[in-house]
Symmetry: C2
Subunit: 100 residues, 2 copies
């Protein structure tokens, strides 16, 4: 299952790193705690809409750009998952199922 918070976290972290800014700098600019920003970047916490807007502001990035990047990443993951789902079932796995 594709999870929005993971893809969003990846986009926010990559953007911050490209700007060569630390968690401390961006969390201070966004007025969120360092721990919260770190959890959001690692996809461990859902960012509320208000704090997402604040983080985008701190990164000086329009939220639409962030969401567009997230959408592209999600599309890529969806293609991969669809590919995996359509792989033929290996003979051994089939054997296990019929033995059960």
């Amino acid at each position: 299952m594709v999870l929005l918070r993971q893809e969003l976290g990846d986009v926010l972290r990559e953007e911050r790193q490209q700007q060569r800014r630390t968690l401390r700098e961006v969390s201070a600019a966004a007025r969120v705690s360092l721990g919260y920003l770190s959890e959001v970047e690692r996809g461990q916490k859902e960012a509320s809409s208000e704090l997402l807007a604040s983080i985008c502001g701190a990164l000086e990035l329009p939220m639409s750009i962030v969401l567009s990047q997230v959408s592209e990443r999600v599309a890529e993951t969806e293609r991969t998952e669809a590919g995996v789902a359509s792989l033929p079932v290996p003979a051994r796995a089939t054997g296990l199922v019929s033995a059960a």
Copy 2:
């Protein structure tokens, strides 16, 4: 301030209505409560990543498509807000500020 949950709620509601499905149908298919889905659609509740995936599944829509539509709506709101922000300050408002 552009809020993700509001734009996301609008996109999810419009999609459901285009499919001519009721809140009851989609909430049952997504295995979320009707009240929760209704609040998400009205932008009053943040959808968790898991439940967003579930709602997209119930609507038979890839999440990437939903996010891409949300990104476009957010971009539109950003353009409007930028336009409003750059409007000249009306004379009366200026007067009020200097009187304060």
